[in-house]
């Protein structure tokens, strides 16, 4: 121009129609390319991969250990029960549950759900749960994929987005961009989408590595749709944080202020709210203490057993005082009737108590679920646990199964031996009668199953919807802020 060279022939001003969809895809593409060139993305991707792999190794090793413990236990189970029967000891049938292979994703309630349970004549007794057995868990408090997603990946999305708009505003490129046919909402949507794709690029390779480790180490990648649903929920959760980062950045100000505000919100969502929710629920609805339940059970059952013992005692006296040829049949009949009645009444009493306990636990869970809706991190952890079969649904499923087993099998084994003894009758001293029931058909160890996927899906639907609401709210906030942003640097 300075050399007075002719300018290019001017096109018709305007040209092809500009759609916001085209603008959107242009900004998204640039956002991805910018991240791909930057250090934050590389660092985030490498860190995510490394931590996912570390968590997988820890969880796989823990799962295999639990699996091994259970196998060893099962090998000893039948001989142990037979030994007790042969020695005429009071039979206590101990059993153990399996650990979910998907605990590689979420440990969830694994550390609090009893690993063993015992059927006794007095009722069902739940044992201790399995505790952390490796140094990494001791350091991090059960390191799993869900922990990494809910804390570190959410922080990573904040790191990706905190200066996405305030940085452009400070650089003057936002004002330049708005001198083009670009709507502000399109910029926000594109920033969120672009950063979300970048987050997904960090998440998916690491997540695929977890699946590979599970497959290679023999843990098995059961229920592929659970894995997919898990990935979808994790990304939905991270979408909320991406939108929060962009929303905070849309308020303008300096990048440092934006970083601090985003960090503050992250701390509140990830650390403060879940703990506050737990505190409120514990205060409003304290958990039922195991000892208290056991005492109540003992009291109810001991009343029933007292009646039962009296009836057996009187039957045994009749047996001892009778010379009739049918005295054995009469005794067996009386004993059978007493056992049947004991079982029926105990079933009724225990069922009532368990129902009460279940109702109480459910009320507490409902409190927890309702208040957790205030905390996206708690909601995500809940859904993640359900999808990994380490959540409330699976815990309830296990408790129901254990009780069914106890009623159908454990109780038969525990009551298969009765020793009757009398020193009051006859001149030839004490008389004893041992009654052996045939329990061979019941000699089956506990075989746990998994809660139905349909049930889990239903229970995950509401929290997943809340994560959606969280993301939509954050996106709406970002749109609201950008519309009111003074773009002048």
């Amino acid at each position: 121009m300075s050399e007075r060279t002719p300018l290019p022939e001017r096109r018709q001003a305007g040209g092809p129609a500009v759609t916001q969809a085209h603008v959107f895809s242009t900004i998204v593409r640039k956002e991805i390319l910018d991240h791909a060139r930057g250090r934050r993305f590389v660092l985030g991707a490498v860190m995510t991969l490394a931590l996912f792999v570390l968590a997988s190794i820890v969880r796989v090793s823990d799962f295999r250990q639990a699996h091994q413990e259970r196998n060893l236990f099962l090998q000893r189970w039948l001989p142990s029960v037979m030994e007790q029967l042969e020695r005429d000891e009071i039979v206590q049938v101990e059993n153990t549950r399996a650990v979910s292979p998907l605990s590689i994703l979420t440990v969830g309630l694994e550390p609090v759900v009893p690993f063993r349970f015992t059927s006794t004549k007095e009722g069902l007794r739940f044992g201790q749960s399995r505790s952390a057995q490796n140094p990494v868990d001791a350091l991090f408090g059960y390191l799993d994929v869900t922990f990494i997603v809910s804390t570190l990946l959410s922080l990573l999305t904040i790191a990706f987005t905190f200066d996405s708009l305030c940085g452009e505003r400070a650089d003057g490129t936002l004002a330049l961009m708005l001198s083009y046919p670009v709507e502000r909402r399109t910029i926000v949507a594109a920033k969120i989408a672009g950063n979300m794709i970048v987050t997904t690029l960090c998440f998916f390779p690491a997540f695929a590595a977890v699946a590979m480790i599970a497959a290679i180490t023999g843990v098995g990648t059961m229920a592929p749709w659970h894995w997919l649903a898990y990935a979808a929920i994790a990304l939905l959760y991270l979408l909320g944080f991406t939108a929060i980062g962009v929303a905070v950045s849309s308020r303008g100000g300096r990048s440092a202020d934006s970083a601090l505000t985003s960090l503050f919100i992250w701390v509140v969502i990830v650390f403060v709210t879940p703990r506050a929710v737990a505190l409120v629920v514990n205060y409003a609805h304290p958990p039922i203490r195991g000892v208290e339940i056991a005492l109540r059970e003992d009291e109810a059952v001991s009343h029933l057993r007292l009646d039962y013992t009296r009836r057996l005692d009187s039957a045994f006296r009749l047996y001892m005082g009778s010379d009739a040829s049918s005295r054995q049949d009469d005794f067996n009949k009386a004993r059978r009737e007493a056992i049947d009645e004991l079982r029926t009444r105990r079933r009724e009493v225990l069922a009532r108590m368990w129902d009460e306990q279940m109702i109480d636990e459910q009320a507490r869970e409902e409190w927890l679920r309702a208040l957790s809706l205030l905390s996206p991190a708690a909601v995500f952890q809940q859904v993640a646990a359900e999808l990994s079969w380490t959540g409330d649904e699976q815990r309830r499923h296990f408790l129901r199964e254990a009780r069914t087993y106890d009623e159908r099998i454990g109780r038969h084994l525990a009551e298969s031996r009765d020793l009757f003894f009398s020193a009051a009758h006859g001149q030839d001293g004490a008389h004893a009668l041992v009654v052996h029931d045939d329990v061979k058909p019941f000699l089956i160890p506990f075989q746990p199953t998994w809660a139905l996927s349909g049930v889990i899906l239903r229970s995950a639907l509401m929290p997943a919807s809340m994560l959606m609401v969280f993301a939509v709210f954050a996106i709406a906030a970002a749109s609201w802020f950008i519309e009111r942003l003074d773009v002048r640097a």
């Binding site: 121009m1 001003a13 040209g15 092809p16 085209h22 603008v23 242009t26 650089d171 708005l178 001198s179």
Partner: protein, 238 residues
């Protein structure tokens, strides 16, 4: 009046205590005209530019760019204007080609390297710097890149906000040549500046803003630098 490159009709925009802003500004800049908007600090020049860009919405009045209302037909209006901010920072990690290509894509068009190179060459942009990141460019070079964006965009209206501030004399002379070239090409140029030196040499009309009001709107040929200085000085000291 539809041929006007830029038309402001009774535009008012106030801030805070309603003492600051622009008040009832009416002006019309025909196509192919270079218009200098002069005024001291806080006179409302940048506010008027931001209103023309649609970044700010007027409380009253309307602004038309090539006949398109910036408030109701922003897409068409924005496709016809090029904005050169006072500090054109661009994307520091992208080179001139990438910056221009990105912004032109926002305009709905993919441009070839040849087209970009052509536009930059016409602004005497050093060829060796074209492929280097914009972060290392001088202010003048960044300004040229933004003007090249307008050329590639085929914008009919160029809005230059304080274009000469911070430029060395050689770059300022080059900028004047570029502005003249834009006029020769039939484009409309609105320059917001507080520097009156030689302004009449390369502009067709001059408007003076004082406390948000357009107090003078006259042909450059009818004004001399001294008169402008007097008007601006009285505004500055007011």
């Amino acid at each position: 009046m539809n041929d006007a490159g830029l038309r402001c009709e009774s535009v008012t925009r106030t801030f805070g205590d309603s003492q600051r802003g622009v008040f009832d500004v009416t002006l019309s800049i025909p196509k192919g005209t270079v218009y200098a908007l002069l005024g001291g600090n806080g006179a409302g020049k940048t506010t008027l530019i931001n209103l023309c860009l649609g970044v700010l919405q007027p409380d009253r009045g309307a602004i038309f760019i090539a006949g398109f209302d910036i408030a109701t037909d922003a897409t068409e209006a924005k496709r016809r204007l090029a904005y050169v901010p006072e500090v054109a920072r661009l994307y520091a990690h992208l080179n001139a080609f990438e910056n221009i290509r990105f912004f032109e894509e926002l305009n709905g068009r993919r441009v070839s390297d040849g087209e970009v190179e052509d536009a930059l060459s016409r602004l005497s942009f050093p060829p060796a710097a074209m492929r280097r990141p914009c972060g290392i460019y001088s202010k003048g070079m960044r300004q040229k890149v933004v003007i090249a964006m307008g050329l590639v965009k085929s914008a009919g209206l160029f809005l230059l906000d304080e274009p000469s501030s911070g430029l060395d004399p050689a770059s300022s002379r080059q900028l004047v040549r570029i502005i003249k070239g834009l006029r020769d090409d039939g484009r409309t140029v609105l320059i917001s500046t507080h520097e009156s030196h030689n302004i009449c040499e390369y502009t067709d009309r001059v408007g003076i803003l004082r406390e948000g009001r357009l107090v003078t709107d006259a042909a450059s040929s009818t004004l001399d630098t001294r008169t402008i200085d007097d008007l601006t000085a009285s505004e500055t000291t007011a």
